[in-house]
Structures are given as structure tokens and as C-alpha cells.
């Protein structure tokens, strides 16, 4: 069986062969790096961070960065059957021959894929048992800040922005290679760099349910998250890989800023990417031009956590519209906030059939608790604007199971939908073709947010709320209610907030067959439940646990820059239903003032 014979038998074989436009090919590089997004090619190639890392590392002559993604089940089966180890897309190198193998951690439900990929590659799964000549396993991305569940498997986590730390990783690796030192000495060397968290150099001990963490061998007490201060001039790839198979986000993702100033209390990204750092209109125009010329894409998406907040949005959009005037370029704004929506922007995205808004909560009280500083008036004004611009379909996105939530707050969601139907009637004169979709997801308390100590709503309570809302909405014609199954969200809480005891659970779950957990058709809750039971643990307990604010948390080794005091203060304000202002209107004292100031000066 040759690789060709196998590829003819699997779905979308082009996912496994590489060779895309602007991909790299090198021979005899000093450092062979493999970058993996631990999910399928279509997911991985939609990820902006992966593209930055790939092109950043390949901008070095001494380094060859190749890619490997999780194969789909049909391909995995044939690879295992014919003993084909996981290989890179670029030159079909077995991944186990890499010097460094890096994963990005974007969501917890990808963790079983990491174990599965290590196994497919023939790399020892547990760090402690890995041999001297096996690849160094590193991981970054937002979840790396609280991935104790991966502490047994990942040699080193890289915290925060990777543009500078990845370059240092290569430098340290080369110095180590030249020195002839041992693998454990490499880990000690790495731990001395800011943002490098080597989990094996921290001892976690739980006595009477209380955790103590002891750093070993000169490892710092806390590891600081890296922040790229000069975001304007930091590396930004413009000769981007263009996938040949259609992927989820297949367009130019123009990162207009990093960070967010809003401070929504449920939003981990809002805290993990602080402070806000914008690129200038001039710079963005140049990046967009070069990217369009090198890729041939016909769509630019203005990417950030809240693109409507860009301080020069009107100027940016008119500059880009002018630059691409003759080229049929679609310029879209993916993450519109209700209060920054401007009907003028609608004309630039005429091709979309519906607009999505995220009030997140139905009542003003609840929106104050989560610090989503949007009023009902704002929302209804925006909906009126969208209808006046000709949109007949809108989607409203909410969370249920939020902290301190009551049935009255759930009713607020239905009330909002009803008010939208009334506005529709006013604008169009009738309710023909009206389509309002209300969708809810279940709130997940995340580390590094003020709600990190709060319990998740119980499954019964969530189901009751879903039923109640469904009954209210069923009475409204033209309004549809969609909600997600809450089982996976329970697991997400356990994965996000669990300590090192979860390593064994992850290993067992994978052994029980769990993989591709983010894919509905593959999610196997039983494999997980069995794994929890095998270690005397329960998913429910993790989800329902209220953590004492003075307890040591498994992720306390990580210093993301925002202080614990700030999270406590924000939690107390949430309980009092008080809001905190957008920090552009004045510093709110989150702890990142030093970095903020540096950015302002530059």
C-alpha cells in the first residue's frame, strides 16, 4: 500500500498532501518544527494564529516549520492499519522526527486529539517517559494559561503572544543542542524565559482538598504571559498559505487590533488578550494590499475581539473600499457589537442574508451582572437600523445559566424577541418574511475571569430554562429558538478548571475512545463518564463546585497580568449588579497599566 493507494480511499484527500500556494519547502534546516492545530485541516487552516506561527518560523533561515493536523476517522483507520505514522503536509516527514512539535490550544475539547496525534506519530504520550531524542512538545494559545489537564503530556507551555517567544524558543533550543546537555536541562533552560511554563518544574500537592504549588530547580514562582507591545510593527504575514480544500474561514483575516477594553465578565478572551493594541489604518491598508496580491482572495474580514470598537473604523472602511474599489473585494465585519453597529457599514456586506447580534442576556439586570454594557434601547435601535437597511432575518445570541440568574431574566430573552417583532411590523408594515432566530448556549465559568470561582448551572436547571423559553417563543410566529445540548459544556468546565488529577482522566477518556470531541457526531460522553469514574471523580462535581476565592487555584502559577484582586473586585460588583466602565473611558485598575502606558507611548 502506497500513500497514493490510501489517499484514493479517503474523503477529501487533498487535506493530507499540502503543496498549497505560499506553503514552504526547505531542505537541511537546523531546527525542524511541526505546528499542529489539534483538529482537522479545515479547522486548522481557518485559524489566524497558526498562519502567523507558520510564516513567522519559516521567515527564519535556520528553521523549517511544517504542519500536521488531526486526520479524519477514515484516514486514521487506514494509517493505523498500514502502519503509516502521522506525517507532515510539506515533505511527508514522520512527525516523530521533528525537533519541536507545537500545538495550539484553542478549546478544551481538542485535548483528546493531542493524545491521539502523539500516538499516531509514535511519540511517547507522557512527558516524563519521553526519550532524549523525541521531539520537545510545546503548546500555546488561550487554553495554555490553564491547561493543568495537559501537564503530564506537554513539556513546555508558551503563554501569551507568540511572535517574540517562539523566536526565543528556537534560539534556546539551538543553544541547548550545541551544548550537548540533557532533555531535563533543556526544560530548565526554557523555564528561565519569560512566558515559558514548564509544568514538570512545579509540584502540585493536594492535602485535605487544599492545593499547594512548589516551584522546583529555580523555576519562577509565577510565569508571566507574554505581550507584544509594538503590535503595529510586529510580524504579520502577508504571503499567506491559500488552502486548496475549502476551509471554514477561507478569506484574508486582517487583524485590526488585539485585546478588548470592554471587560465583559464572562469573556475570557477579554482578559487574556489585554491590553488593547491597534494597528494604524496605513499599516492595515498595506497588509491588506499585500495579502490580496499574494493570495487572490476576494474577501477581507476585519478581525479582532470586537471589530466595531476600532477607533478609526469609518476611515479604515473607506480607505479599504477605495483601495479595492475596482476589484470586487468583499470587506466584512465579523464581530459587530450592538452599540457600535452602524447601518452605513451594511452596504459593504450586502451579500450576507442575516445579521447576528449578541445581547448575551435578556434583562438589563443580567446584562449589568455580566458587564455587557448594552441597553435595551441600543439593541432595539440597532435592530430598527438593520430592518431599515433591508435585512429581514436577524439572529440574537444569548447565554443561559449565567451567575445569579432567575426565571425573570429568561423571560427577558423572550420579551426582547417580541419587541423585535414589533419593530419589524413598524418598519415593514406586516410580518411577512420575518425571521428572528434566538439561540442560547450554556454559560461556562472560565479561569481568568471574575466568574472563575462560580459554579455552572445544573443540567436540570438549564433544561428547565430551555423548556420555559421554548414555550414562550413557540407562541410567537416568525421567531425560532435554537439551543445547544448542555452535556458537553459540563465537560468543558471540568477541563478548564480541573487540576493535575485531570491528566489521568484525559488519558483514560482517550483510551476509552474519545476523540474529535468538538464534532457533534463523534462526541462520546460515555467514554468521558467512564474515565471520570475510573479515577473516582465526577464531571458534575467539577461543574457544580463553588470555589472559595482565597483557595489556591491550579492555574495560579500563571500571571496573565490582570490581578486576582481585580477579578475578586469584579465578582463583588457583579453580585451588587454594578457595571464597570469600558477602560478606554478611564483606567479601571486591572493591573496591566504598565503595558498599556508603554503602548500609548509607542
Amino acid at each position: 500500500m502506497t500513500l497514493d493507494d490510501i489517499l484514493l480511499k479517503v474523503d477529501k484527500p487533498a487535506r493530507y498532501v499540502g503543496g498549497e500556494l505560499n506553503s514552504h519547502f526547505k531542505e537541511n534546516a537546523e531546527v525542524n518544527f511541526v505546528f499542529s492545530y489539534p483538529d482537522t485541516y479545515e479547522m486548522g487552516m481557518s485559524h489566524l494564529g497558526g498562519k502567523i506561527i507558520y510564516h513567522l518560523l519559516n521567515s527564519r533561515e535556520d528553521t523549517f516549520c511544517q504542519r500536521a493536523y488531526a486526520p479524519w476517522v477514515d484516514m486514521e483507520e487506514l494509517m493505523r492499519k498500514h502502519n503509516i505514522p502521522l506525517f507532515t503536509l510539506e515533505n511527508k516527514m514522520p512527525v516523530k522526527n521533528a525537533d519541536i512539535w507545537g500545538f495550539t490550544l484553542q478549546y478544551e475539547l481538542s485535548y483528546t486529539n493531542i493524545l491521539n496525534m502523539l500516538s499516531l506519530a509514535g511519540v511517547t504520550i507522557k512527558s516524563a517517559e519521553r526519550k532524549e531524542d523525541e521531539p520537545l512538545i510545546v503548546a500555546g494559545g488561550p487554553c495554555a494559561n490553564h491547561a493543568e489537564m495537559l501537564a503530564d503530556f506537554v513539556d513546555c507551555f508558551l503563554l501569551g503572544d507568540g511572535e517574540e517567544s517562539l523566536m526565543e524558543l528556537i534560539d534556546v533550543y539551538k543553544a541547548w543542542k550545541a551544548s550537548g546537555k540533557s532533555r531535563s536541562e533543556l526544560l530548565e533552560m526554557l523555564s528561565q524565559n519569560e512566558g515559558f511554563y514548564v509544568p514538570s518544574l512545579y509540584e502540585h500537592k493536594v492535602v485535605d482538598g487544599k492545593l499547594t504549588i512548589t516551584p522546583l530547580k529555580n523555576a519562577p514562582k509565577q510565569v508571566k504571559r507574554r505581550v507584544v507591545v509594538d503590535f503595529e510593527n510586529t510580524f504579520c504575514p502577508t504571503k499567506l498559505i491559500v488552502p486548496t480544500v475549502e476551509v471554514v474561514h477561507d478569506r484574508i483575516m486582517l487583524e485590526i487590533f488585539r485585546g478588548c477594553t470592554r471587560g465583559c465578565r464572562f469573556c475570557q478572551a477579554g482578559f487574556l488578550y489585554r491590553p488593547i493594541r491597534e494597528r494604524s489604518v496605513e499599516k492595515l491598508k498595506q497588509i491588506a494590499r499585500e495579502s490580496a496580491d499574494s493570495t487572490g482572495y476576494d474577501e477581507i474580514s476585519l478581525t479582532s475581539l470586537s471589530s466595531g470598537d476600532y477607533s478609526n473604523l469609518n476611515q479604515l472602511i473607506s480607505t479599504l473600499n477605495c483601495e479595492f474599489n475596482e476589484e470586487r473585494m468583499d470587506i466584512s465585519l465579523p464581530s459587530l457589537r450592538i452599540d457600535s453597529f452602524n447601518p452605513d457599514f451594511v452596504s459593504t456586506q450586502m451579500r450576507k442574508s442575516s445579521l447576528t447580534f449578541a445581547p448575551e442576556a435578556g434583562s438589563q439586570r443580567m446584562r449589568n451582572i455580566i458587564n455587557k454594557n448594552v441597553s435595551e434601547e441600543d439593541l432595539l435601535k440597532t435592530v430598527r437600523g438593520a430592518y431599515s437597511a433591508g435585512y429581514r432575518a436577524i439572529k440574537l445570541y444569548f447565554m443561559i445559566g449565567l451567575p445569579f440568574e432567575t426565571m425573570e431574566d429568561i423571560k427577558g430573552i423572550a420579551d426582547l424577541a417580541r419587541k423585535c417583532t414589533e419593530i419589524y411590523q413598524e418598519v415593514f408594515g406586516n410580518k411577512k418574511n420575518m425571521r428572528i432566530t434566538v439561540s442560547t448556549s450554556v454559560f461556562i465559568p472560565k479561569p481568568f475571569t471574575p466568574f472563575q470561582w462560580i459554579n455552572q448551572d445544573s443540567e436540570e436547571s438549564v433544561k428547565e430554562k430551555q423548556r420555559y423559553l421554548s414555550d414562550l417563543i413557540r407562541q410567537m410566529r416568525g421567531v425560532e429558538y435554537k439551543y445547544h445540548d448542555s452535556t458537553a459544556s459540563k465537560l468543558e468546565v471540568a477541563c478548564a478548571r480541573g487540576g493535575r488529577e485531570m491528566c489521568a482522566v484525559l488519558y483514560s477518556a482517550w483510551k476509552n475512545g474519545a476523540k474529535l470531541d468538538a464534532w457533534h457526531e463523534h462526541f462520546d460522553i460515555e467514554a468521558w463518564q467512564k474515565a471520570f469514574a475510573e479515577h473516582g471523580l465526577s464531571m458534575e462535581e467539577y461543574a457544580s463546585r463553588v470555589i472559595d476565592v482565597d483557595e489556591t487555584l491550579p492555574w495560579d502559577t500563571v500571571d496573565v497580568g490582570v490581578t486576582k484582586e481585580y477579578y475578586k473586585r469584579e465578582l463583588a460588583k457583579a453580585q451588587r449588579e454594578e457595571t464597570t466602565r469600558d477602560c478606554r473611558q478611564g483606567c479601571t485598575g486591572c493591573g496591566m497599566m504598565n503595558v498599556c502606558k508603554k503602548e500609548v507611548k509607542s
Binding site: D4, L7, L8, K12, P13, A14, V17, G19, E20, L21, V242, T244, V245, E246, A292, D293, S294, T295, G296, Y297, D298, E327, R328, R351
Partner: protein
């Protein structure tokens, strides 16, 4: 102005599906900054058409694509500019501006010639003779609803061996089409295992005359 291209789909891109190939061309045309014509209407789309979809995994020297430009650019200049921006494995072999009366290649396509490279290079002349001697060769083909059994023997027009390569001329029209991967299955049923497949030419039929749409610039 109309531009008709013949291009090569090489080993590097043989797993790209027909639909993804279309997307690849649309992006290449943008990179080459060619002034392409779009359809009118609310949702304008690029005026481009590809002849005879190729099964995934098959290489080709005979792919044809036609599009329109809003102003005159010499076809060989179009070819040059496209070749500068193509990924490895896609190469434009020739370009012409067809006469106005010249039909769309896809609508007049009649036959396709393929080269099946065998795995071991044995002499298969007897097996080939046996295949041609059969009156009926029935295979399952996708139909509107489920599958239908079709006799494809009349769609095999020529079958010869030259060294390790088996050459086949097969029907490739809108009404009668025998795909190369199906032909490989037929060969395999007759004890011939195929290592790789390449389409070598496409023949069109105009006013009863069979000919090549455009040759290759050597």
C-alpha cells in the same frame, strides 16, 4: 474577449476536486490581475467554465477552461501571467482566443484519451483483447435516484498497450461518459492493477468532425 486555455493538472494537485480547482483558478485570475468579466445581476459571478470534470487522483495534460476578459490581452500574455502565479502542479500549456462561432468546449466534448500506467509493466494484450471481445460490461453508475446498471462496453473505443502504459479512448460526452476511475476498476477486474492515471487528450466533435480543441505549444 474569450480566452480558451489548455492546462496541465500534475501530480502535486491531483487530489484537488473539480470544485476546488475552480476556486483555485478564480484566485489565480485575481492574482494575475486579469480584467475578468462578471455576470450581471444581484450576485455577479465570474464568467468561467471548465470542460469535463476529472476524478480525484487523476492527472491530466488536457484540462480546458474558458473565461472572458473585458479588454484585449494577447492569449499568450494571459498564459504567461497565469503561469507566474500558479501553485506547483498547474501549468497552462496553450491559450487561444477562439473564433466567435467556436462552441463552448464542454458542450461539444466527445472523447477522452487516458494513459493507465500499470503497476508491474507486464504484457496485458490478451486481457485487453478479452475486454474488447465482451459484448456487455455492466457497471454501477450514480443515477438521479440511487444507482443504475449501465453497459459501458460501447463507451470503450480503443484499448492498446505501449510498454507499461495502457492507452484508452473513452466516451466523455454529456450523454455518454465513462470515468477514468471506473475504467481502472474494469482493468483491475481483468487482472491489471493500475498505479496511476493521466488524461492525455480530449476530442471534440463539430459537424461530425472529431478534433482536438487546441494543441499544445511545444
Amino acid at each position: 474577449m474569450r480566452v480558451l486555455l489548455r492546462f496541465e493538472k500534475g501530480n502535486e494537485v491531483k487530489y484537488i476536486s473539480h470544485l476546488d480547482m475552480q476556486r483555485l483558478f478564480q484566485r489565480a485570475l485575481r492574482r494575475a490581475k486579469l480584467p475578468c468579466a462578471y455576470s450581471q445581476g444581484f450576485n455577479p459571478h465570474l464568467l468561467i467554465s471548465f470542460a469535463a470534470a476529472l476524478p480525484v487522483g487523476v492527472c491530466s495534460d488536457a484540462e480546458f477552461v474558458e473565461f472572458q476578459l473585458t479588454k484585449f490581452i494577447h492569449p499568450l500574455e494571459v498564459m504567461k501571467r497565469l503561469n507566474e502565479v500558479m501553485p506547483k502542479g498547474v501549468k497552462i500549456l496553450n491559450a487561444i482566443e477562439p473564433e466567435e462561432s467556436f462552441p463552448n468546449v464542454g458542450s461539444v466534448i466527445a472523447l477522452a484519451e487516458y494513459a493507465f500506467t500499470t503497476k508491474n509493466g507486464d504484457d496485458y494484450s490478451k486481457a485487453l483483447k478479452d475486454i474488447l471481445a465482451q459484448e456487455e460490461i455492466t457497471i454501477e453508475k450514480k443515477a438521479k435516484k440511487g444507482f443504475a446498471l449501465v453497459n459501458v462496453r460501447p463507451m470503450i473505443h480503443r484499448l492498446t498497450q505501449n510498454g507499461e502504459v495502457i492507452k484508452a479512448t473513452l466516451s466523455c460526452s454529456n450523454s455518454e461518459n465513462l470515468r477514468a476511475d471506473k475504467m481502472a476498476e474494469i482493468l483491475s477486474c481483468n487482472g491489471i492493477s493500475v498505479a496511476s492515471i493521466k488524461r492525455t487528450s480530449i476530442l471534440i466533435c463539430i459537424d461530425g468532425f472529431i478534433k482536438e480543441p487546441l494543441g499544445v505549444n511545444k
